[in-house]
């Protein structure tokens, strides 16, 4: 197993060193700010700012989603740890161009507490801050408690849409409303086959029985809602999609997914799961979506939201209305995700 053989230097400095590398990957588009934030070099005055962030160790997110028509900056924590309030404040001040800042990040206790403390400090400096939490993991709480859910891979389409919206938003209210809609229309289900390892200790983030799959496993390796026997791509794929369909159905706040709906579909690898496996699952998933008459407007496949070399996969569905579709079609570019117009 490769866990013991990571190409790093001081295991306690990986979060800082990877961020230095990330800045280089942006070829001058972004710069490092304060303790551990990455921010676009050029943010037009009067732009409503979009700030993302979270723990490190899940690259290419979150900090890889800063870019053209994407986020203006990211506040980065240590490995699997939310950024401290000081870091959030430094990032907030750096992206703020007079029209306020939207915080858009995954719903984890640590992130909420630290971003909230950062927001309190920013507001003392007279910066208008709003927060939209990402809670797309349907396996982490029932629809009635969906605001307690974790944020997983669905954050990629959500940040893509919010980033596009932030280019045009007339006000922080407007951006907040669009981001909330993107979150409401995005649902994900993940599974895991094997743990990643924590760089500092080399220890696996969790244990799972050989031959078992953790259904609903979180991207930090939080145990899933159920352990099921290892199975085939064609057996597992419908199980996962069913959970997504059921959630759209049971949640009163959204319509059930139905024929004619247009969606963005993301097949995410948690790290060690090969593109080959993702594509084999996608093949089956597309058959099922097509049978239901659901129109996939755009498909994304790859290791975008990872947990080190964790083996696992997730599906995310984002339903597009006319506004979201128009935003989706805007080009974007970042280390995590890029697309051309259309």
């Amino acid at each position: 197993m490769s866990t013991m053989k990571k190409l790093v230097n001081d295991p306690l400095k990986v979060a800082d060193e990877l961020l230095d590398g990330l800045v280089e990957a942006y070829d001058g588009q972004c710069e490092r700010v304060g303790t551990r934030s990455i921010v676009k070099r050029v943010i037009p005055d009067g732009k409503v700012a979009l700030l993302v962030g979270g723990g490190s160790g899940h690259e290419p997110i979150y900090h890889g989603l800063v870019g053209r028509n994407l986020a203006d900056g990211a506040a980065c924590g240590d490995i699997f740890a939310a950024p401290s309030p000081d870091i959030v404040l430094e990032a907030t001040e750096a992206v703020h161009k007079g029209e306020g800042v939207l915080y858009l990040y995954g719903n984890y206790a640590g992130d909420v507490m630290n971003f909230d403390m950062g927001a309190e400090l920013a507001e003392e400096d007279g910066i208008d801050v709003r927060t939209v939490l990402i809670w797309d993991d349907v396996c982490s709480a029932p629809p009635t408690e969906k605001h307690n859910r974790r944020g997983i891979a669905g954050l990629v389409p959500i940040v893509k849409l919010a980033g596009a919206a932030s280019q045009q938003a007339a006000s922080l209210d407007e951006l907040e409303a669009t981001a909330r809609k993107a979150v409401l229309q995005t649902r994900s289900v993940g599974v895991s086959m094997a743990p990643g390892s924590i760089p500092a200790t080399g220890k696996p983030t969790f244990d799972i029985e050989e031959g078992k799959i953790g259904l609903g496993m979180g991207i930090h390796g939080e145990p899933g809602v159920e352990e099921i026997p290892m199975t085939t791509a064609d057996e597992l794929t419908p199980k996962m999609l069913e959970l997504i369909f059921a959630d759209f159905e049971e949640d009163d706040e959204v319509e059930a997914l139905s024929a004619g709906d247009e969606v963005v579909f993301l097949v995410n690898s948690l790290g060690a799961t090969t593109m080959m496996e993702c594509l084999i699952c996608l093949r089956k998933a597309k058959q099922i979506l097509t049978e239901k008459g659901i129109v996939v407007h755009d498909t994304i496949v790859g290791p975008l939201v990872t947990c080190q070399e964790m083996a696992g996969i997730s599906f995310s569905v984002t339903r597009l209305d006319d506004e979201l579709k128009r935003l989706w079609q805007m080009p974007c570019e970042s280390v995590c995700y890029s697309k051309m117009e259309g």
Partner: protein, 210 residues
């Protein structure tokens, strides 16, 4: 056996707390592996190393400043849930004993109660949610009943209550934080943060007893 601590002694006490937590990194990390993402010990280690640096450097002439400096050092260096939570323990607790010349059993009670209130306000968890509150809250209650006793006796009682609370957290079903998706399967494991609280209070007790 010390009965009332000066600001300087409070600083010494926190250094012992720091060394104990740093030494416990592996066990705290393992506790978090069972229910969380396996990094609690690493975060606490980071935070309490920062506390040691901060206390070494600074000229801290009052008790609340010592606690406040420790709390800020944890918040800034740790991040994560525990950075906010444990930083708040020392910041909120410290604020509550502002003005006190010495740290005795009445101040301990004030400190712990303010810490519980601060943490509950910050994170929204209540006793029984299987968080560090389930060790901190019983400790605060015991301290409230021990304001007539010596600081040593009060801390002995509080540390005992914290350890009992940590053990009791095994039988709780997580409803907050990372562990909440485990539901029933979170039974049988203590909460990682509760383990830290027990270590912290035991270290305070031992410092005072020494």
């Amino acid at each position: 056996m010390k009965n009332c601590l000066t600001a300087e002694q409070v600083g010494e006490m926190l250094l012992l707390v720091a060394d104990r937590i740093i030494a416990a990194e592996p066990e705290l990390t393992d506790a978090d592996r069972n229910l969380g993402d396996g990094d609690h010990g690493l975060g606490m280690q980071r935070g309490l190393m920062a506390v040691k640096d901060k206390l070494a450097g600074a000229e801290l002439d009052s008790i609340d400043k010592v606690f406040g400096a420790a709390g800020m050092a944890m918040i800034s260096s740790m991040g994560g849930a525990s950075g906010a939570i444990f930083g708040t323990v020392f910041r909120a607790g410290g604020k509550a004993v502002a003005g006190a010349e010495t740290f005795g059993s009445p101040e301990l009670a004030t400190f712990l109660q303010a810490a519980v209130d601060g943490v509950m306000q910050r994170g929204g968890a209540k006793p029984g949610d299987k968080t560090m509150i389930d060790a901190l809250h019983p400790a605060a209650q015991k301290a409230a009943q021990s304001t007539g006793d010596s600081l040593g006796d009060a801390l002995t009682a509080a540390a005992e209550a914290a350890a009992a609370g940590r053990d009791a957290s095994c039988d709780m079903i997580a409803t907050m934080g990372r562990a909440k998706t485990l539901r029933e399967r979170s039974l049988g494991h203590p909460d990682a943060g509760a383990c830290s609280v027990a270590i912290i209070l035991a270290a305070m007790r031992d410092y005072v007893a020494s």
